[in-house]
Protein backbone atom coordinates (compact mmCIF):
# COMPACT_ATOMS: atom_id res chain seq x y z
CA UNK A 1 0.00 0.00 0.00
CA UNK A 2 1.06 3.59 -0.52
CA UNK A 3 3.21 4.79 2.32
CA UNK A 4 4.12 7.93 0.43
CA UNK A 5 3.47 11.12 2.36
CA UNK A 6 1.90 13.76 0.10
CA UNK A 7 4.18 16.59 1.09
CA UNK A 8 3.29 18.88 -1.77
CA UNK A 9 -0.41 18.32 -1.25
CA UNK A 10 -0.16 19.03 2.44
CA UNK A 11 1.88 22.13 1.75
CA UNK A 12 -0.75 23.34 -0.70
CA UNK A 13 -3.47 22.65 1.86
CA UNK A 14 -1.55 24.57 4.49
CA UNK A 15 -0.97 27.45 2.11
CA UNK A 16 -4.67 27.48 1.24
CA UNK A 17 -5.55 27.71 4.92
CA UNK A 18 -3.13 30.58 5.39
CA UNK A 19 -4.59 32.41 2.43
CA UNK A 20 -8.08 31.77 3.75
CA UNK A 21 -7.05 33.10 7.15
CA UNK A 22 -5.60 36.25 5.65
CA UNK A 23 -8.50 36.98 3.32
CA UNK A 24 -11.09 36.22 5.95
CA UNK A 25 -9.55 38.58 8.47
CA UNK A 26 -8.63 41.18 5.91
CA UNK A 27 -12.11 41.95 4.63
CA UNK A 28 -14.60 43.34 7.08
CA UNK A 29 -17.85 41.41 7.31
CA UNK A 30 -16.50 38.51 5.32
CA UNK A 31 -15.58 36.80 8.52
CA UNK A 32 -19.24 36.23 9.30
CA UNK A 33 -19.75 34.14 6.18
CA UNK A 34 -16.34 32.61 5.92
CA UNK A 35 -14.65 32.65 9.27
CA UNK A 36 -10.89 32.27 9.38
CA UNK A 37 -9.71 28.71 9.95
CA UNK A 38 -8.32 29.66 13.30
CA UNK A 39 -11.76 30.61 14.55
CA UNK A 40 -13.21 27.49 12.98
CA UNK A 41 -10.78 25.29 14.83
CA UNK A 42 -11.45 27.20 17.98
CA UNK A 43 -15.15 26.56 17.52
CA UNK A 44 -14.43 22.93 16.82
CA UNK A 45 -12.75 22.71 20.16
CA UNK A 46 -15.67 24.47 21.78
CA UNK A 47 -18.41 22.24 20.41
CA UNK A 48 -16.29 19.26 21.28
CA UNK A 49 -15.84 20.33 24.86
CA UNK A 50 -19.47 21.33 25.25
CA UNK A 51 -20.38 17.78 24.33
CA UNK A 52 -22.66 18.91 21.52
CA UNK A 53 -20.49 17.47 18.80
CA UNK A 54 -20.08 14.08 20.40
CA UNK A 55 -23.79 13.86 21.14
CA UNK A 56 -24.76 14.39 17.53
CA UNK A 57 -21.86 12.42 16.09
CA UNK A 58 -22.76 9.40 18.16
CA UNK A 59 -26.38 9.55 16.97
CA UNK A 60 -25.25 9.66 13.37
CA UNK A 61 -22.72 6.91 13.84
CA UNK A 62 -25.27 4.62 15.49
CA UNK A 63 -27.73 5.03 12.62
CA UNK A 64 -24.98 4.57 10.09
CA UNK A 65 -23.72 1.39 11.70
CA UNK A 66 -27.18 -0.13 12.03
CA UNK A 67 -28.16 0.63 8.46
CA UNK A 68 -24.86 -0.43 6.93
CA UNK A 69 -24.74 -3.72 8.80
CA UNK A 70 -28.34 -4.50 7.88
CA UNK A 71 -27.77 -3.68 4.24
CA UNK A 72 -24.53 -5.64 4.07
CA UNK A 73 -26.06 -8.82 5.46
CA UNK A 74 -29.22 -8.63 3.36
CA UNK A 75 -27.61 -7.49 0.12
CA UNK A 76 -24.67 -9.90 0.15
CA UNK A 77 -26.96 -12.84 0.94
CA UNK A 78 -29.45 -11.82 -1.71
CA UNK A 79 -26.70 -11.15 -4.21
CA UNK A 80 -25.15 -14.56 -3.65
CA UNK A 81 -28.51 -16.32 -3.79
CA UNK A 82 -29.75 -14.56 -6.91
CA UNK A 83 -26.36 -14.68 -8.57
CA UNK A 84 -26.11 -18.41 -8.11
CA UNK A 85 -29.51 -19.35 -9.41
CA UNK A 86 -30.42 -18.33 -12.90
CA UNK A 87 -34.07 -19.06 -12.20
CA UNK A 88 -34.18 -16.86 -9.12
CA UNK A 89 -32.35 -14.13 -10.99
CA UNK A 90 -34.82 -14.20 -13.84
CA UNK A 91 -37.64 -13.53 -11.37
CA UNK A 92 -35.89 -10.70 -9.69
CA UNK A 93 -34.17 -8.94 -12.57
CA UNK A 94 -37.09 -6.84 -13.92
CA UNK A 95 -37.96 -5.71 -10.39
CA UNK A 96 -34.36 -4.65 -9.86
CA UNK A 97 -34.23 -2.81 -13.16
CA UNK A 98 -37.49 -1.04 -12.29
CA UNK A 99 -36.41 0.23 -8.89
CA UNK A 100 -32.82 0.93 -9.72
CA UNK A 101 -33.22 4.24 -11.60
CA UNK A 102 -35.16 5.83 -8.75
CA UNK A 103 -32.86 8.00 -6.64
CA UNK A 104 -32.81 6.65 -3.10
CA UNK A 105 -33.68 9.93 -1.29
CA UNK A 106 -37.08 9.68 -2.94
CA UNK A 107 -37.88 6.99 -0.40
CA UNK A 108 -37.67 9.45 2.47
CA UNK A 109 -41.29 10.67 2.25
CA UNK A 110 -42.67 7.16 1.98
CA UNK A 111 -40.51 6.07 4.85
CA UNK A 112 -41.84 8.96 6.94
CA UNK A 113 -45.32 7.84 6.03
CA UNK A 114 -44.78 4.30 7.22
CA UNK A 115 -42.27 4.71 9.97
CA UNK A 116 -42.66 8.19 11.30
CA UNK A 117 -39.78 10.54 11.91
CA UNK A 118 -37.65 8.52 14.26
CA UNK A 119 -34.59 6.36 13.94
CA UNK A 120 -36.39 3.52 12.18
CA UNK A 121 -37.15 5.80 9.25
CA UNK A 122 -33.56 6.94 8.90
CA UNK A 123 -32.13 3.48 9.22
CA UNK A 124 -34.64 2.09 6.74
CA UNK A 125 -33.95 4.77 4.15
CA UNK A 126 -30.20 4.43 4.55
CA UNK A 127 -30.30 0.63 4.45
CA UNK A 128 -32.43 0.73 1.30
CA UNK A 129 -29.96 3.03 -0.41
CA UNK A 130 -26.92 1.01 0.69
CA UNK A 131 -28.43 -2.24 -0.48
CA UNK A 132 -28.14 -1.28 -4.12
CA UNK A 133 -24.40 -0.98 -4.68
CA UNK A 134 -23.75 -4.04 -2.53
CA UNK A 135 -26.42 -6.11 -4.24
CA UNK A 136 -25.48 -5.12 -7.78
CA UNK A 137 -21.78 -5.65 -7.24
CA UNK A 138 -22.34 -8.97 -5.48
CA UNK A 139 -24.59 -10.15 -8.31
CA UNK A 140 -22.01 -9.08 -10.83
CA UNK A 141 -19.20 -10.73 -8.91
CA UNK A 142 -20.97 -14.05 -8.40
CA UNK A 143 -22.22 -14.30 -11.95
CA UNK A 144 -18.84 -13.32 -13.28
CA UNK A 145 -16.93 -16.11 -11.58
CA UNK A 146 -14.75 -17.66 -14.26
CA UNK A 147 -16.12 -20.77 -15.91
CA UNK A 148 -12.71 -22.42 -15.66
CA UNK A 149 -12.79 -21.98 -11.89
CA UNK A 150 -16.19 -23.61 -11.64
CA UNK A 151 -15.03 -26.43 -13.89
CA UNK A 152 -11.97 -26.87 -11.71
CA UNK A 153 -14.16 -27.35 -8.66
CA UNK A 154 -16.26 -29.82 -10.64
CA UNK A 155 -13.33 -31.91 -11.82
CA UNK A 156 -12.22 -32.26 -8.20
CA UNK A 157 -15.66 -33.53 -7.31
CA UNK A 158 -16.47 -30.61 -5.01
CA UNK A 159 -20.11 -30.50 -3.98
CA UNK A 160 -22.39 -27.49 -4.61
CA UNK A 161 -22.25 -26.01 -1.08
CA UNK A 162 -18.50 -26.27 -0.80
CA UNK A 163 -18.18 -24.82 -4.27
CA UNK A 164 -20.35 -21.88 -3.22
CA UNK A 165 -18.53 -21.07 -0.01
CA UNK A 166 -14.99 -22.11 -0.85
CA UNK A 167 -14.79 -21.12 -4.49
CA UNK A 168 -17.55 -18.82 -5.74
CA UNK A 169 -17.76 -16.40 -2.82
CA UNK A 170 -13.98 -15.97 -2.43
CA UNK A 171 -13.68 -15.47 -6.18
CA UNK A 172 -16.44 -12.86 -6.07
CA UNK A 173 -15.11 -11.18 -2.95
CA UNK A 174 -13.14 -8.36 -4.62
CA UNK A 175 -16.30 -7.24 -6.35
CA UNK A 176 -18.34 -7.63 -3.19
CA UNK A 177 -15.85 -5.49 -1.34
CA UNK A 178 -16.13 -2.82 -4.03
CA UNK A 179 -19.87 -2.74 -3.45
CA UNK A 180 -19.35 -2.46 0.29
CA UNK A 181 -16.94 0.41 -0.18
CA UNK A 182 -19.26 2.37 -2.47
CA UNK A 183 -22.18 1.97 -0.11
CA UNK A 184 -20.09 3.29 2.76
CA UNK A 185 -20.21 6.72 1.16
CA UNK A 186 -23.87 6.31 0.24
CA UNK A 187 -24.75 5.42 3.81
CA UNK A 188 -23.21 8.59 5.14
CA UNK A 189 -24.99 10.67 2.54
CA UNK A 190 -28.40 9.22 3.30
CA UNK A 191 -28.03 9.37 7.07
CA UNK A 192 -27.01 13.00 6.83
CA UNK A 193 -29.85 13.77 4.45
CA UNK A 194 -32.54 12.13 6.51
CA UNK A 195 -31.26 14.05 9.52
CA UNK A 196 -31.58 17.29 7.59
CA UNK A 197 -35.09 16.59 6.36
CA UNK A 198 -36.52 15.63 9.72
CA UNK A 199 -34.72 15.06 12.99
CA UNK A 200 -33.65 16.60 16.23
CA UNK A 201 -30.24 15.07 16.52
CA UNK A 202 -27.42 13.82 14.40
CA UNK A 203 -24.68 15.65 12.54
CA UNK A 204 -26.89 16.43 9.55
CA UNK A 205 -29.46 18.09 11.78
CA UNK A 206 -26.73 19.77 13.82
CA UNK A 207 -25.09 21.41 10.82
CA UNK A 208 -28.40 22.65 9.44
CA UNK A 209 -29.50 23.85 12.85
CA UNK A 210 -26.26 25.77 13.33
CA UNK A 211 -26.86 27.47 10.02
CA UNK A 212 -30.41 28.38 11.00
CA UNK A 213 -29.26 29.82 14.32
CA UNK A 214 -26.56 31.80 12.55
CA UNK A 215 -23.81 30.06 14.47
CA UNK A 216 -21.72 30.12 11.33
CA UNK A 217 -18.23 29.36 12.63
CA UNK A 218 -19.66 26.39 14.55
CA UNK A 219 -21.39 25.27 11.37
CA UNK A 220 -18.09 25.08 9.53
CA UNK A 221 -16.56 23.29 12.46
CA UNK A 222 -19.31 20.68 12.44
CA UNK A 223 -18.89 20.22 8.69
CA UNK A 224 -15.20 19.67 9.23
CA UNK A 225 -16.03 17.11 11.89
CA UNK A 226 -18.32 15.30 9.48
CA UNK A 227 -15.62 15.26 6.81
CA UNK A 228 -13.19 13.84 9.34
CA UNK A 229 -15.73 11.19 10.31
CA UNK A 230 -16.16 10.23 6.67
CA UNK A 231 -12.44 10.09 6.21
CA UNK A 232 -11.89 7.93 9.30
CA UNK A 233 -14.63 5.50 8.32
CA UNK A 234 -13.07 5.17 4.89
CA UNK A 235 -9.63 4.59 6.38
CA UNK A 236 -11.02 1.95 8.72
CA UNK A 237 -12.58 0.22 5.76
CA UNK A 238 -9.35 0.33 3.78
CA UNK A 239 -7.42 -1.07 6.72
CA UNK A 240 -9.75 -4.03 7.15
CA UNK A 241 -9.75 -4.45 3.39
CA UNK A 242 -5.97 -4.56 3.45
CA UNK A 243 -5.97 -7.40 6.00
CA UNK A 244 -8.73 -9.54 4.57
CA UNK A 245 -7.96 -9.05 0.91
CA UNK A 246 -4.19 -9.09 1.07
CA UNK A 247 -4.15 -11.80 -1.56
CA UNK A 248 -5.84 -9.59 -4.09
CA UNK A 249 -3.09 -7.51 -5.63
CA UNK A 250 -3.54 -4.21 -7.33
CA UNK A 251 -5.80 -5.65 -9.98
CA UNK A 252 -8.68 -3.74 -11.47
CA UNK A 253 -11.96 -3.84 -9.66
CA UNK A 254 -15.02 -3.04 -11.69
CA UNK A 255 -17.27 -0.49 -10.09
CA UNK A 256 -21.01 -0.82 -10.41
CA UNK A 257 -22.95 2.08 -8.99
Amino acid sequence: MRARIPWLGLAVLFAAFLAWEAVSRGFAGLGDYVPPPSRMLGMLGQILVSGELLFHAQATLARFAGAYALAAVVAVSAGVAFGSSRVLYSFVEPLVELLRPMPSPATIPIAILFLGIGNEMKIAVTAYACTWPILLNTLDGVRGVDRVLRQTAATFGVGPWRTLFQVVIPAASPQIVTGLRVSLAIALILVTTSEMVVADDGLGFFILDLQRSFRIPEMYAAILALAVLGYLLNQAFLTIDGWVMAWHRLGTRKEVV
Binding site: V148, T152, F156, G157, G159, P170
Partner: protein, 263 residues
Amino acid sequence: MLEVQDLHKAFQPLSGGAPILALGDVSFRVDAGRFIAIVGPSGCGKSTLLLCVAGLMRPTTGTILLGGQPVTGPPENLILVFQEYNQSLMAWRTVLRNVRFGLEGRGRPRVEIDAEARRAIELVGLTGFERHYPWELSGGMQQRVAIARALARRPAVLLMDEPFGSLDALTRNELEDTLLAVWAEVGATILFVTHDIEEAIYLADRVYVLSGRPSRVLEEVEVALPRPRHQLKTREDSRFIAYRHQIYELISRETSRRGPALP
Protein backbone atom coordinates in the same frame (compact mmCIF):
# COMPACT_ATOMS: atom_id res chain seq x y z
CA MET B 1 -8.72 -48.43 -18.85
CA LEU B 2 -10.39 -45.67 -20.80
CA GLU B 3 -12.62 -46.21 -23.75
CA VAL B 4 -14.41 -43.68 -25.92
CA GLN B 5 -17.11 -45.04 -28.17
CA ASP B 6 -18.77 -43.19 -31.04
CA LEU B 7 -18.71 -39.86 -29.35
CA HIS B 8 -20.82 -37.14 -30.94
CA LYS B 9 -21.22 -33.64 -29.59
CA ALA B 10 -23.42 -30.99 -31.18
CA PHE B 11 -23.78 -27.40 -29.98
CA GLN B 12 -26.79 -25.17 -30.49
CA PRO B 13 -25.50 -21.71 -31.29
CA LEU B 14 -27.14 -18.96 -29.19
CA SER B 15 -27.83 -16.91 -32.27
CA GLY B 16 -29.96 -19.68 -33.73
CA GLY B 17 -29.40 -21.64 -36.89
CA ALA B 18 -28.13 -25.13 -37.54
CA PRO B 19 -26.40 -26.99 -34.70
CA ILE B 20 -22.63 -27.15 -34.88
CA LEU B 21 -21.26 -30.67 -34.78
CA ALA B 22 -17.97 -30.47 -32.90
CA LEU B 23 -17.34 -34.16 -32.45
CA GLY B 24 -18.60 -36.60 -35.03
CA ASP B 25 -17.93 -40.19 -34.08
CA VAL B 26 -14.75 -40.17 -32.07
CA SER B 27 -13.66 -43.58 -30.86
CA PHE B 28 -10.46 -44.77 -29.27
CA ARG B 29 -9.08 -46.82 -26.45
CA VAL B 30 -6.38 -46.13 -23.89
CA ASP B 31 -4.62 -48.74 -21.77
CA ALA B 32 -3.72 -48.10 -18.17
CA GLY B 33 -0.49 -46.28 -17.48
CA ARG B 34 0.02 -45.05 -21.03
CA PHE B 35 0.75 -41.53 -22.18
CA ILE B 36 -1.59 -40.65 -25.03
CA ALA B 37 -1.49 -37.40 -26.98
CA ILE B 38 -4.23 -35.90 -29.12
CA VAL B 39 -3.51 -33.40 -31.87
CA GLY B 40 -5.69 -31.80 -34.48
CA PRO B 41 -6.27 -28.61 -36.42
CA SER B 42 -7.42 -25.50 -34.53
CA GLY B 43 -11.00 -25.48 -33.44
CA CYS B 44 -11.52 -29.17 -34.13
CA GLY B 45 -12.99 -29.82 -30.71
CA LYS B 46 -10.05 -31.27 -28.81
CA SER B 47 -11.09 -29.38 -25.67
CA THR B 48 -14.69 -30.48 -26.11
CA LEU B 49 -13.49 -34.05 -26.24
CA LEU B 50 -11.59 -33.68 -23.00
CA LEU B 51 -14.49 -31.99 -21.26
CA CYS B 52 -16.72 -34.91 -22.22
CA VAL B 53 -14.22 -37.50 -21.06
CA ALA B 54 -13.84 -35.56 -17.81
CA GLY B 55 -17.56 -35.75 -17.24
CA LEU B 56 -17.90 -31.96 -17.30
CA MET B 57 -19.91 -31.94 -20.49
CA ARG B 58 -22.49 -34.40 -21.68
CA PRO B 59 -21.98 -35.79 -25.19
CA THR B 60 -24.92 -35.76 -27.57
CA THR B 61 -24.48 -39.46 -28.24
CA GLY B 62 -21.81 -42.05 -27.52
CA THR B 63 -20.31 -43.60 -24.43
CA ILE B 64 -17.26 -43.06 -22.33
CA LEU B 65 -16.10 -45.94 -20.20
CA LEU B 66 -13.63 -45.55 -17.41
CA GLY B 67 -12.50 -48.86 -15.97
CA GLY B 68 -15.56 -50.41 -17.55
CA GLN B 69 -17.95 -47.95 -15.88
CA PRO B 70 -19.77 -45.30 -17.93
CA VAL B 71 -18.84 -41.71 -17.20
CA THR B 72 -21.87 -39.58 -16.27
CA GLY B 73 -20.27 -36.90 -14.14
CA PRO B 74 -16.78 -36.02 -12.97
CA PRO B 75 -15.26 -39.41 -12.01
CA GLU B 76 -13.52 -39.78 -8.69
CA ASN B 77 -10.16 -40.97 -9.97
CA LEU B 78 -9.87 -38.67 -12.97
CA ILE B 79 -8.71 -35.05 -12.89
CA LEU B 80 -8.65 -32.47 -15.68
CA VAL B 81 -5.86 -29.89 -15.80
CA PHE B 82 -6.83 -26.72 -17.66
CA GLN B 83 -4.86 -24.58 -20.07
CA GLU B 84 -5.82 -21.37 -18.27
CA TYR B 85 -3.89 -21.93 -15.06
CA ASN B 86 -4.42 -18.35 -14.01
CA GLN B 87 -8.19 -18.76 -13.91
CA SER B 88 -8.02 -22.27 -12.50
CA LEU B 89 -5.88 -21.57 -9.47
CA MET B 90 -7.41 -19.89 -6.46
CA ALA B 91 -5.84 -16.49 -6.13
CA TRP B 92 -6.78 -16.23 -2.47
CA ARG B 93 -4.95 -19.41 -1.48
CA THR B 94 -1.25 -20.03 -1.11
CA VAL B 95 0.43 -22.69 -3.20
CA LEU B 96 0.09 -25.22 -0.41
CA ARG B 97 -3.57 -24.47 0.15
CA ASN B 98 -4.23 -24.63 -3.56
CA VAL B 99 -2.64 -28.04 -3.82
CA ARG B 100 -4.58 -29.19 -0.76
CA PHE B 101 -7.86 -28.11 -2.30
CA GLY B 102 -8.75 -31.41 -3.95
CA LEU B 103 -8.14 -33.33 -0.75
CA GLU B 104 -10.23 -31.20 1.55
CA GLY B 105 -13.76 -31.89 2.69
CA ARG B 106 -13.39 -35.65 2.47
CA GLY B 107 -12.82 -36.43 6.09
CA ARG B 108 -9.11 -36.99 5.86
CA PRO B 109 -6.96 -35.74 8.73
CA ARG B 110 -5.17 -32.45 8.23
CA VAL B 111 -1.75 -33.95 8.76
CA GLU B 112 -2.31 -36.48 6.01
CA ILE B 113 -3.62 -33.87 3.62
CA ASP B 114 -0.65 -31.62 4.19
CA ALA B 115 1.79 -34.51 3.68
CA GLU B 116 0.15 -35.46 0.40
CA ALA B 117 0.19 -31.86 -0.75
CA ARG B 118 3.83 -31.40 0.07
CA ARG B 119 4.70 -34.58 -1.74
CA ALA B 120 2.92 -33.35 -4.85
CA ILE B 121 4.64 -29.97 -4.60
CA GLU B 122 7.98 -31.75 -4.43
CA LEU B 123 7.12 -33.86 -7.47
CA VAL B 124 6.68 -30.78 -9.62
CA GLY B 125 9.80 -29.14 -8.23
CA LEU B 126 8.20 -26.31 -6.26
CA THR B 127 9.47 -27.12 -2.78
CA GLY B 128 10.02 -23.88 -0.92
CA PHE B 129 7.18 -22.04 -2.58
CA GLU B 130 4.39 -23.36 -0.37
CA ARG B 131 3.59 -19.99 1.21
CA HIS B 132 3.61 -18.04 -2.05
CA TYR B 133 0.51 -16.77 -3.76
CA PRO B 134 -0.15 -17.64 -7.42
CA TRP B 135 0.35 -14.08 -8.59
CA GLU B 136 3.84 -14.13 -7.21
CA LEU B 137 4.79 -16.99 -9.51
CA SER B 138 5.65 -17.15 -13.19
CA GLY B 139 3.27 -18.77 -15.67
CA GLY B 140 5.23 -21.98 -15.76
CA MET B 141 5.28 -22.22 -11.97
CA GLN B 142 1.56 -21.57 -11.77
CA GLN B 143 0.90 -24.44 -14.13
CA ARG B 144 3.11 -26.65 -11.97
CA VAL B 145 0.92 -25.76 -9.02
CA ALA B 146 -2.16 -26.77 -11.00
CA ILE B 147 -0.51 -30.06 -11.90
CA ALA B 148 0.55 -30.64 -8.31
CA ARG B 149 -2.99 -29.99 -7.20
CA ALA B 150 -4.19 -32.73 -9.53
CA LEU B 151 -1.39 -35.10 -8.52
CA ALA B 152 -2.20 -34.70 -4.84
CA ARG B 153 -5.33 -36.66 -5.49
CA ARG B 154 -3.28 -39.54 -6.96
CA PRO B 155 -5.65 -39.88 -9.88
CA ALA B 156 -5.61 -42.98 -12.06
CA VAL B 157 -6.23 -40.80 -15.10
CA LEU B 158 -4.91 -37.32 -15.77
CA LEU B 159 -6.45 -35.27 -18.55
CA MET B 160 -4.49 -32.27 -19.75
CA ASP B 161 -5.97 -29.63 -22.04
CA GLU B 162 -3.09 -27.88 -23.81
CA PRO B 163 -1.52 -27.22 -20.42
CA PHE B 164 1.62 -25.65 -21.84
CA GLY B 165 -0.07 -23.73 -24.63
CA SER B 166 0.16 -20.35 -22.89
CA LEU B 167 3.83 -20.64 -22.02
CA ASP B 168 6.97 -19.60 -23.82
CA ALA B 169 8.99 -22.25 -25.65
CA LEU B 170 11.74 -22.70 -23.09
CA THR B 171 9.34 -23.03 -20.17
CA ARG B 172 7.32 -25.43 -22.24
CA ASN B 173 10.29 -27.73 -22.76
CA GLU B 174 11.09 -27.57 -19.06
CA LEU B 175 7.58 -28.55 -18.11
CA GLU B 176 7.45 -31.32 -20.71
CA ASP B 177 10.40 -32.95 -19.00
CA THR B 178 8.97 -32.34 -15.55
CA LEU B 179 5.74 -33.98 -16.66
CA LEU B 180 7.56 -37.01 -18.03
CA ALA B 181 9.52 -37.38 -14.79
CA VAL B 182 6.31 -37.10 -12.78
CA TRP B 183 4.60 -39.64 -14.99
CA ALA B 184 7.46 -42.08 -14.61
CA GLU B 185 7.19 -41.69 -10.84
CA VAL B 186 3.43 -41.77 -10.54
CA GLY B 187 2.39 -44.11 -13.34
CA ALA B 188 -1.00 -42.58 -14.07
CA THR B 189 -2.73 -42.78 -17.44
CA ILE B 190 -2.35 -39.46 -19.20
CA LEU B 191 -4.49 -38.05 -22.00
CA PHE B 192 -2.71 -34.97 -23.30
CA VAL B 193 -4.27 -32.57 -25.80
CA THR B 194 -2.00 -30.20 -27.69
CA HIS B 195 -1.80 -28.25 -30.92
CA ASP B 196 1.97 -28.74 -30.95
CA ILE B 197 2.80 -31.80 -33.06
CA GLU B 198 6.36 -32.06 -31.82
CA GLU B 199 5.26 -31.87 -28.22
CA ALA B 200 2.79 -34.67 -28.82
CA ILE B 201 5.41 -36.95 -30.34
CA TYR B 202 7.98 -36.04 -27.72
CA LEU B 203 5.76 -36.89 -24.81
CA ALA B 204 3.51 -39.74 -25.90
CA ASP B 205 3.42 -43.47 -26.45
CA ARG B 206 0.70 -42.97 -29.00
CA VAL B 207 -0.70 -39.96 -30.84
CA TYR B 208 -4.27 -39.69 -32.06
CA VAL B 209 -4.69 -37.27 -34.95
CA LEU B 210 -8.12 -35.71 -35.15
CA SER B 211 -9.76 -34.39 -38.26
CA GLY B 212 -11.33 -30.95 -38.49
CA ARG B 213 -14.94 -30.40 -37.39
CA PRO B 214 -16.88 -32.66 -37.03
CA SER B 215 -13.89 -34.45 -35.50
CA ARG B 216 -13.12 -38.09 -35.76
CA VAL B 217 -9.89 -40.01 -35.31
CA LEU B 218 -7.99 -39.76 -38.58
CA GLU B 219 -4.98 -41.75 -37.60
CA GLU B 220 -3.41 -43.58 -34.69
CA VAL B 221 0.36 -43.15 -34.58
CA GLU B 222 2.35 -45.45 -32.31
CA VAL B 223 5.45 -43.62 -31.12
CA ALA B 224 8.24 -46.17 -30.88
CA LEU B 225 10.87 -43.87 -29.43
CA PRO B 226 13.05 -44.92 -26.51
CA ARG B 227 12.46 -43.59 -23.01
CA PRO B 228 13.62 -41.57 -21.22
CA ARG B 229 13.09 -38.91 -23.84
CA HIS B 230 15.65 -36.17 -24.35
CA GLN B 231 14.92 -32.69 -25.68
CA LEU B 232 17.77 -32.77 -28.16
CA LYS B 233 18.48 -36.41 -28.92
CA THR B 234 14.87 -37.53 -29.23
CA ARG B 235 13.92 -34.62 -31.41
CA GLU B 236 16.80 -35.32 -33.76
CA ASP B 237 15.95 -39.01 -34.03
CA SER B 238 15.03 -39.94 -37.61
CA ARG B 239 11.87 -41.70 -36.41
CA PHE B 240 10.80 -38.53 -34.60
CA ILE B 241 11.18 -36.61 -37.82
CA ALA B 242 9.26 -39.26 -39.73
CA TYR B 243 6.37 -39.12 -37.28
CA ARG B 244 6.44 -35.35 -37.47
CA HIS B 245 6.18 -35.46 -41.27
CA GLN B 246 3.40 -37.96 -41.15
CA ILE B 247 1.26 -36.05 -38.70
CA TYR B 248 2.02 -32.64 -40.17
CA GLU B 249 0.91 -33.77 -43.62
CA LEU B 250 -2.28 -35.26 -42.24
CA ILE B 251 -3.19 -32.06 -40.48
CA SER B 252 -2.29 -29.68 -43.28
CA ARG B 253 -4.33 -31.74 -45.67
CA GLU B 254 -7.21 -31.44 -43.23
CA THR B 255 -6.76 -27.70 -42.87
CA SER B 256 -6.51 -27.02 -46.59
CA ARG B 257 -9.43 -29.29 -47.33
CA ARG B 258 -11.75 -27.55 -44.95
CA GLY B 259 -10.36 -24.05 -44.93
CA PRO B 260 -9.56 -22.25 -41.69
CA ALA B 261 -11.75 -23.37 -38.85
CA LEU B 262 -14.13 -20.73 -37.55
CA PRO B 263 -14.26 -20.24 -33.80
